[in-house]
């Protein structure tokens, strides 16, 4: 497959479960780009988590709002932008403390951004007045 800035856009409803549509689409594109199975699995989890953040924390599961996922294929990398239309929110970026969670001192959720950071090569989260964007990049030869 010859890449050269091919772009795929997916719009999913703001309901939990639909993140799997974006996840599988990202995996299909990564497979065409000849990413390894390990990297594809990493990417699937990262896309699912970014979409879940957008659905839950960005769009607040609003039935009138969509999550916009853009996959941009380049020769050396795959970029995934996940955008919501919600108010700015601050995802947890530090490593959650598993001990505190096991001991019941913290809620057990809050792993999304930590997983994303550890599964893709680059991640950037930004908030604009019109919504929030998580940009993730994985490189073919890393």
């Amino acid at each position: 497959m010859t890449q050269q800035n091919k772009t795929i856009e997916i719009h999913i409803p703001s309901n939990m479960g639909y993140e799997k549509i974006a996840m599988e689409s990202g995996a299909a594109v990564a497979k065409l780009m000849l990413f390894s199975d390990d990297r594809i699995n990493d990417l699937k989890t990262a896309i699912a988590e970014a979409c879940m953040n957008a659905i839950e924390h960005g769009n607040k599961t609003s039935p009138t709002e969509k999550v916009f996922v853009t996959l941009t294929v380049d020769d050396s990398k795959l970029q995934i932008d996940v955008k919501d239309k919600g108010k700015p929110f601050a995802p947890v970026t530090d490593k959650p403390d598993i001990k505190e969670k096991i001991e019941g001192k913290e809620e057990t959720r809050g792993w999304g951004m930590f997983l994303i950071k550890n599964l893709v090569d680059e991640v950037e989260f930004s908030s604009q007045p019109e919504g929030n964007t998580t940009r993730m990049i994985i490189y073919l030869h890393k």
Binding site: N15, M16, G17, E19, K20, D38, N41, D42, T45, A48, E49, M52, P96, I98, K99, K101, I102, E103, G104, E107, T108, R109, G110, W111, G112, F114, L115, N118
Partner: protein
Amino acid sequence: METKEMVTTEMKNGIVVLNMHGDVTPFSEKAVMDAYEKHSAGETQKILINFSNAKYINSGGIAIIISLVSEARKKNQKVGVCCLTPHFVKIFDMIGLSDYVEMYETDVEALQLL
């Protein structure tokens, strides 16, 4: 989303086995915790979470496993997990959950060694 059976329970070798099915997500929480509470009363000392039939696990599903481990520790129960894919073994290591559960590649191994 369609709701299907999310967890089935069986007793093997004195171990309560929770078999996860399909998606392990926040939607599974009630089914998983109810199954755990119902079958882990009394003298139960060992819980095995079997992921061989799990198709998709997200961070909300991992949070449920953390809750279950948290409850089990209060009861001095030992928790094992088996049949995770290599990707999710990596995720469990990454978040530190593998420090709190016994990890096994297969259910046979888990039932022998837990």
